[in-house]
């Protein structure tokens, strides 16, 4: 198992309901895992508990059989992240955005001069080529379309040379055609490089189409864990429409 989430719970300060209650998921290396659920199910919180952008209230996450603790910089660079709003630095060039994926490996002193070693540039250019965006390397990020921006964001995550990519609703703000294209790139590149992908989605179609395995979440709990083929009406009801009482029962 590359990643083991064990009994993770999270209650935000001042919140009445926990965002995550007792979530346990084991992810084997190289898997394309879709975490499916409605908005507010706790998908984003779960992702951020893995790379510690959010501190879990209880429970532990094991990465390659070691608990995630200590040097967060060293841990975070193993996890590439892709966001719903892309989060590219708009005023920087595409190539510089991808190069920023190397920051976790470089000293602050060198970053002060916006300087990267040639080896990093090689990595960045290769990652851009993998998502077929190398022809726009020197354009400013804000001149790209949404789909292109997300491909660059994937390249940035790849430049980290991560073991795992955490994609948080990566296609929620893209149209269906572009969304499929972006998910296609994500799956293909991850396969080629042997990267494990955890991908949050709220659209059932995409989950069926792209997932090797689906974990369904509702109100901070895991309510389904299985193959795309097992995703029937009853399961979907559990994920999307269960009330709190039904869930407790």
């Amino acid at each position: 198992m590359v990643l083991e989430i064990r009994n993770v719970s999270k209650t935000y300060p001042g919140a009445a309901q926990p965002a995550l209650s007792d979530v346990s998921i084991s992810v084997p290396a190289g898997q394309f895992l879709v975490i499916l659920g409605p908005s507010g199910a706790g998908k984003s919180s779960l992702m951020r508990c893995i790379n510690r952008l959010v501190e879990p209230t209880s429970g532990q996450v094991f990465f390659e059989n070691k608990p995630i603790m200590g040097d967060l910089r060293a841990i975070r660079r193993q996890f590439g992240m892709v966001f719903q709003q892309f989060n590219l630095v708009k005023r920087l060039s595409v190539l510089t955005n991808v190069l920023s994926g190397r920051l976790g490996y470089r000293s602050v002193a060198r970053s002060l001069f916006y300087s990267f070693p040639e080896s990093d540039k090689q990595i960045a250019a290769e990652c851009l080529a993998r998502v077929n965006m190398e022809h726009k390397a020197f354009q400013r990020a804000d001149t790209l379309s949404g789909g292109e921006q997300q491909r660059v964001a994937i390249a940035r995550a790849l430049a980290q040379q991560p073991k795992v990519i955490l994609a948080d609703e990566p296609v929620a703000s893209l149209d269906p055609k572009i969304a499929r294209q972006v998910l296609g790139y994500l799956r293909q590149v991850a396969k080629e490089l042997g990267i494990t992908v955890l991908c949050n989605l709220h659209q059932v179609d995409y989950a069926r189409e792209f997932a090797e395995r689906i974990v369904g979440m509702s109100r901070g709990r895991v309510v389904f864990d299985g193959l795309a083929a097992q995703l029937n009406e009853e399961v979907l009801n559990r994920i999307y429409y269960a009330t709190a009482e039904e869930q407790a029962a």
Binding site: L95, E118, K121, Q122, E126, L128, A129, E134, H135, F138
Partner: protein, 266 residues
């Protein structure tokens, strides 16, 4: 483009960027060197002047604390000038800012006229305004209030206009889609977005006005500056020192107060 192509292009761009930076910085350096010579930038003169400065400070020491009582009224007047000047500027700058912002102005001509007017207000220093108003309304704090009000209006309105131009356009579109009129769109779509920055800048402006009000007395427009110039001209340096001390305390208190107010509202 291939990976090798990207890397080659990157190297080329970096070389060109470096060459351009070198060229520009050499030019800028030469120009700065030339101007330094023109305006007599001379560290040696400063070093030679140190004994004279020490002599001057020596004459001011110790400050004449008995003079403090005489400065009380002038200090209060300074604060009053700053308060009224800033208040008038705030009131004037709201309409001027809306007229002088591209997205709220009723007409391009109004926009340009307003910006021109604001530029004029900003380019004239408070002291110069004070000279004009002393001639117009006579010696005293009212001339100081008007001087501060006009200069601050120029600053505040320009800042606010730029803030208005930079608002998020989404809510404006949404307000227009509801069938709201021009002014309604401004009131509901733009004003709420601008208020925090405007309030924060107004408080900052008050702080600046306090500092400006301490010297307006140099030209007879009220406040502490009058005592400052008077004692200096009469060679009562011990009293001058007291003036400077009071101004320092006043500015420090205003700075502290403004920082607290800004922390509260932001």
């Amino acid at each position: 483009m291939t990976v090798a192509g990207v890397l080659a292009a990157e190297a080329q761009r970096r070389r060109e960027g470096f060459r351009r930076a070198l060229l520009w910085s050499t030019g800028a350096l030469a120009l700065l060197w030339f101007t330094a010579a023109q305006i007599g930038l001379n560290p040696a003169a400063l070093v030679r002047g140190v004994p004279f400065m020490l002599d001057f400070f020596g004459r001011m020491f110790p400050p004449d604390l008995a003079h403090l009582a005489l400065l009380r009224d002038a200090t209060v007047e300074t604060v009053q000038i700053a308060v009224w000047g800033t208040l008038i500027a705030i009131v004037l700058s709201i309409p001027l800012a809306l007229l002088g912002a591209r997205n709220t102005t009723p007409h391009a001509l109004v926009f340009h006229a307003t910006r021109m007017f604001l530029n004029a207000l900003r380019s004239i220093n408070e002291l110069v305004f004070a000279l004009i108003f002393v001639a117009a309304v006579g010696l005293g704090p009212f001339a100081g209030v008007l001087a501060i009000a006009l200069h601050a209006t120029g600053m505040l309105a320009k800042f606010c206009a730029e803030e208005v131009e930079g608002v998020d356009r989404g809510p404006i579109e949404a307000m227009r889609a509801t069938g709201a009129g021009r002014l309604q769109v401004i009131l509901f779509g733009i004003v709420p977005q601008v208020v925090p920055a405007f309030v924060s800048y107004s408080v900052y402006r008050f702080d600046v006005s306090i500092r400006a009000a301490t010297i307006l007395g140099l030209v007879g427009a009220g406040g502490l500056g009058f005592s400052l110039i008077k004692t200096m001209k009469l060679f009562l340096y011990h009293q001058t020192a007291t003036c400077i001390l009071v101004i320092f305390v006043l500015v420090a208190v205003s700075d502290w107060l403004c920082a607290r107010i800004r922390a509260r509202i932001l």
